[in-house]
Symmetry: C2
Subunit: 313 residues, 2 copies
Amino acid sequence: MHHGQDIDVLVSEVAPRDGLQSIKATMPTPLKLRWISALADAGLREIEVGSFVPAKLLPQMADCAELVAHARQISGLFVTALVPNLRGAQAAFEAGVQKITLPISVSEPHSLANIRKTHAQVFEEVQAVVALRNERFPGVEIEAGLSTVFGCTLQGVVTDDQSLAMAVKMAELGVDEVGLADTVGYANPAQVRRVFTRLRNELGALAGSAHFHNTRGQGLANVVAALEAGVTTFDASQGGIGGCPYAPGASGNIVTEDLVYLLESMGLRTGVDIDRLVAAREWLRQGLPGEALYGFIPDAGVGKNFTYAKEAV
Amino acid sequence: MHHGQDIDVLVSEVAPRDGLQSIKATMPTPLKLRWISALADAGLREIEVGSFVPAKLLPQMADCAELVAHARQISGLFVTALVPNLRGAQAAFEAGVQKITLPISVSEPHSLANIRKTHAQVFEEVQAVVALRNERFPGVEIEAGLSTVFGCTLQGVVTDDQSLAMAVKMAELGVDEVGLADTVGYANPAQVRRVFTRLRNELGALAGSAHFHNTRGQGLANVVAALEAGVTTFDASQGGIGGCPYAPGASGNIVTEDLVYLLESMGLRTGVDIDRLVAAREWLRQGLPGEALYGFIPDAGVGKNFTYAKEAV
């Protein structure tokens, strides 16, 4: 989405998708609805509500269309979903999403392992999705979410050139935005600064969001580097849920609560109220009893000196 | 200490002091000795082994002189200790430390609450310590460790001007180095960049280390900002032990294991071997059974792509 003039950084909440799809238990739909409302109520402007994938593959995401319908009723909220292919894109468009994110592996071995597609096959699929959007769903945004940009457990090193070539290719195929994701928590701040600077130089206004994982505790350090490279949209997950192969302490996504505190304390306006954001965890706790939630701010509070970043005058 | 030419950043291990003094249980001296040896063995060049304070106040630190004597036997290790006053400084000098750190509160209410001294009284004490060193222990370094630089639970906001004025005063009184500490986890990267840049501009070579706490999960984010401001010495604590008013997850000091990974993955040489560093936790575990240890790297590992920063050629 385009940022409002009243915020400096857009925090894109991905817990309902990236978080819930990596947890085995399924959060009941009524609690998901309350949770999404509470997240929006805290001031989050963009929420990825789910993933349009076959229910037999990911039963946790089976209610995605219902969540989209609900979220679209919330004033001021931009509603996005992940889609793996043309079929998912069509379902997402029909459900009424305002943006879809297509995950694109820069690493071809990762692409083959994950979705059994070569790069050539992926390009055909993206082309078909863009054509469908152009023809029948104009106005819906398409983001390519490049994964394994900072390294891949299968391919090993992924070069900056490989990532940039894929980003340029996506722009040529007609996507509206290209984001970069650190799929396995390999990114370091020097690399982040370098790659996002190149992305911005080569793609201009199409340079999109940063999606970091906190597997090695480097998530917010990478955010600082990305901010310097001009990134203004960050994915984050309430309670840090999602993609957590290690326990305990090794949360998956960066924690929304801690990210908002970081940004606001640096004087960057997010539009998010931290108290209300922390309160929204209650729905997650009810919906996924016993699931570990991460984050420092919910325990430590914001501290005596904290003030929200002021509106520019 | 002066960095060797073979490292870019000095990681100063403070767990034996800052960590152990905030934990109620006392780690047995024989295990402390093994632990300090293991830390040095992992490649750490500087260790703050303890605090020279009355044993009735901090029984955990009663063996400090013995630890200094042991650590001084370790080749290539620079041995430091914290001292609160002239009496402690004399004991530390006599024990054979190579550096003392004097904690100096920028916030006067904090100074009064902590050591019952006004700023004027603190200046007298620093002057006396410097005179003692100059007269009887030349060559031993004196660092002023400015605390509450980034905010204070008693005073509230601490201004950059207040911190810089105190730094300049310490330089005038003859200390060799002025470090800045975020006592309660209030620092944000924008502030860190600003204050350390001023410290370097105003103090030149006397600008010293950064000491961050991870209370709000912002520790490594602040390290990235400090690196940009030219800081090359960072305090850190194995397992993140120390100064932890919140539980769980809200570790005190930044975690040495995660810091070393951050720096090395950015291409900055620390001289520290992460595997051996993680192995050293075993002594801490034996010495403080049941105590929570923090850090992502010990659980997640360094990942397939990790390589140590190469020697400059």
